[in-house]
Symmetry: D2
Subunit: 337 residues, 4 copies
């Protein structure tokens, strides 16, 4: 960390900061500029709060030097991490397509979708059993019944399954039925849940919080990695901005940024990232062109009848067209679908 | 809801929408404008997704008419709700001051703070036992030990206690020691937790999510109210914006806005809302002048040694000065401290 | 527009709104729901303020039905507009690549860059003569000298030139030297300037304001179109969000959204949209995959010596690589470079 | 500035950065930490781009140490600046109330308003002659006719007048009629205009851009001050956020923040800061309680007939009530109205 002293800070204030830094077990390094004196703190600053140092008399501000995440960083693990979910591998040449309904509504709806997306080229199935909804009056999911149907659809199609888990105590139930646990955007900051999936020791799909910076997103991954569970796939799914025409603003910059900062695979959710079915295909192409390792896409046989998120769901036919169009883009960046 | 048809939508498309609305058990009301045909949906639209109707052929967009919250709305309960926590009442003439450390660190630290804030005029004690932290390497709180110390400090001072609960399964433990359960900003969307505190049937302090709209904030309250638990106090604590000089942007507009939309009491957290101790006093005055029913403020005997959020904590002396200055403002708006 | 009356609004209030609407020359259409009465205003509502109607007694809110832009809308001109700048056409099969330095610094720097980007495949040259800078202490551009150099470079290479104009009174000077006038992001709301370039009757490159919604962006275009100047190319260049790792958040959703709402060509500026040279190539690929009609990219022979925006500038070699990689993506979506 | 080298940067890269810093006329100061080497740049860094240094090989990032504004900073002028507009003084004990219509519509409307706001306690008159509007189809102001009416109203009431100027070439006309030039929110980044009002050498009311950070706001003031025109009053008028219930989010934190960073007076615009007349009074009270040196408020004799911004305008009666209520709050913070 770097401590910037106020203009005109006294010698005593400077020495006090130096003493404080040393009392914390770090070394201090002084540098006197024309208007400001600067004090470098030498040592591993992670876990130390910059804000506390800011309270010492004469201090103007304190600037962290190290990235706060460590295990998730390429500095500490330069090569790509591959995350394997049964026969599917994230982070390799192949762009992974995950597809399925927002919410599991019935056996018919799920089976019809699962067979169709497999036929079209998806290699993994998604489906919500527990739905976090803004309104308590909305459809909240079928719960364990949905999980059973997902396991059944997985067996029928051979596609591994990912589904959201919303609470630590639900991890044991959900893991019984699925191949990958999803942390939803509203739970990216639910640290108890991050610990729980870290301990579960199985693959995790971690969605970016709709209000989380890239750094906070990687810190959430760090929670899981700190349990020695490195099977983490990151998912950019759009952030909240002032723009209201789309449901969220998909942060395409985040894809190459995270690939640079971290060794973990990154996929994109164009369904939530746009909130409008007609934007899903062009934005899917963009994601793959930017280097995404996969896509997760909502598909429903009859979107107008969907109990949740119909407006951003594709029909199986639209999904099949998307796969063809995304495949061509993938090849143009030396990937495959 | 109002369905706006695209320019040039066919008669068949219009009739199809009407039939669809009727099949859902609503009545439809047609209105033909110069460029657009508009169809009103008559009935209680809450629980119906606007987005699904947008998928019908010929539909341009769908606009909700009713506010999505009902129990939290002044339309349904015009008079102010008073929330009682032992001898403290929120929503009445008296502006409630809650004070205490961000995190409980030791018996000495807590007792010293509790006695000082009581002496200065606080009527309730706060203190974190479980700390949601961005980094897994930060101090995460003393857990149940902290709760025990809070109960002890409460007994010694007579001040009721509020503390954050982070998971549904922790509700039984936390409620044993405290008088009011706090839902933190990162958990405003944690619906399992909202249900759990709703069922707990005791007073709840619900903090606004750092990127939640006022409407979503009231919907989170609605989750708790839907369990017939009306003992909910709302807390504006700053939202995330592009401004980086302050930690958050305190949304002062939200205070009179929520007082207008809802019957629930509203308090303000100027510590998190600014992130800088030197802004806490002026912003506290502003909150009370805008009509807040209370303030929740972080106080630490030695902020520079705090294990969390020192930069926004006041010393007991600063807090005592704040109380005096806030008292004068309260009187100028016919309230008291 | 649709007027939503408050719950319990009186008959007289409803009639008063109806009379008011009729007095403005519109027809009113009444619809009574279960909780609310709704009044439709029939006629061309553009130019009428929704906010004024909200002040009538008993009114809860007023919702516009029509898009506020008309000339820029696909509703009124379904086919794509082609914008021609000498031999370059925007909006056609070919993806237009504009490249050049952020600021013109010297004849050597400009010529070296112009020849290199032409060689690499650019079909238009960019270069700043007047630089809007946050700080009055920064380099503010060479002014008319820069324009002369741009004209010279254009003649030497055959590339048409685009450059920013910052004030209405500068339009006559700038147009003497360039082929296309650029409106910068900070001036998207400078209505005097929009009128001036509208009247200039020559091609305009309009950049999105860094905090403008898509609707406001199209309204700014409407200002220019309202002078019968349809030679407008829109440029998505990133918006301001809470994310600080990148300089701006490139709104990739905006590309297909605007192509759907408007007939005007849309290009993307990945240099400002990311602020980091290492993100420019992947995000350029994403833009073309999403359907952009062109790219505008900052290139400098020695970025570390650039007087402005060096961190987001490519070297000529990096630009040449980008062209090759973007060309493959363009072909995968049936476009060409 | 502080240059943070990448982990594992070579000795040669470090020396290259040192040489580069020295070649720019600064001194370099080396500090080797456990994971990173840090190089301090010693000298006045304003005018130097941090981003260019980031391009040198081995550099991870560059952090500015000094605030980019100088003349506007309290570091360089610790005592408050008083800005005098005829008999009105900003920055002193008295809180200045500016009131008047959003747009001047007619002599009757203006005179009626001017007399009423004077009677109620306003000490300055506002009124728009040139209106920047999102839509070219909206009312754009009466131009010089409005200015003439403002001068007339000023003479009749004795109130000094402030009005917006939208372009450098309009400064000579506007200054002929008014006592203070206003720079509107959409023009805060219009640097030509900032230079022009700087040179005009008369009092300026500078509104914060709706997308500007506090630092950028102070940099815009710096443009004016750099012409030795120190008669600048800053106006917080709300920023754009994700919240849509209010038109803008009034940044109450900005009031004490700017008072701390700068010596210039700060006023607040609760009309634009909320966009809703019913919020204007409580938020006005909050602004004064937070330390604002004045308020600028929209008043219209018949808001429902206003040609612009009626929804946020007070009637003269409402304004008179506001003055009374704000006066009490002012006294509670040792100010007066």
């Amino acid at each position: 960390m770097i401590v910037v002293m106020r203009m005109g800070a006294s010698e005593e204030e400077v020495h006090n900061v130096v003493r404080h830094i040393e009392s914390l077990g770090f070394r201090a390094h002084l540098s006197r500029g024309e208007e400001r004196t600067i004090i470098g703190l030498i040592g591993d600053e992670r876990g130390l709060s910059q804000h506390t140092l800011e309270l010492l008399p004469g201090v103007e501000r304190v600037i962290p030097v190290l990235k706060p995440f460590k295990l998730a960083s390429r500095d500490f693990k330069p090569e790509n991490t591959l995350v394997q979910v049964r026969n599917v591998v994230f982070g390799d040449k192949k762009v992974v397509l995950i597809a399925g309904p927002c919410a599991v509504e019935s056996r018919t709806q799920l089976m019809e979708t699962a067979l169709a997306v497999k036929e079209a080229g998806a290699s993994m199935l998604r489906g919500g059993a527990y739905k976090p909804r803004t309104s308590p009056y909305s459809f909240l999911g079928l719960g364990e019944d949905a999980l059973r149907l997902l396991a059944e659809a997985s067996e029928a199609t051979g596609l591994p399954v990912v589904s959201e888990v919303m609470a630590p105590e639900a991890v044991p139930v959900v893991r019984r039925y699925v191949d990958m646990l999803q942390i939803g955007t509203r739970n990216m900051h639910n640290y108890n849940l991050l610990h729980a999936v870290g301990e579960a020791g199985m693959p995790v799909l971690l969605k970016r919080g709709l209000m989380a910076t890239i750094e906070e997103f990687l810190m959430a991954a760090e929670y899981i990695l700190s349990h020695s569970n490195y099977q983490v796939v990151l998912c950019e799914r759009g952030i909240r901005t002032f723009e209201t025409y789309t449901r969220n603003t998909l942060d395409i910059n985040a894809v190459p940024t995270i690939k640079g900062l971290s060794h973990l695979p990154v996929i994109v959710d164009p369904s939530h990232g746009t909130g409008r079915w007609e934007l899903v295909e062009p934005v899917s192409r963009a994601a793959v062109a930017a280097g995404a390792d996969g896509l997760i896409i909502e598909v429903h046989p009859r979107p107008a009848e969907a109990l949740s998120d119909g407006a951003q769901s594709l029909t199986p036919e639209q999904f099949a067209r998307l796969v063809k169009s995304v495949r061509r883009v993938a090849e143009s960046v030396d990937r495959e679908v």
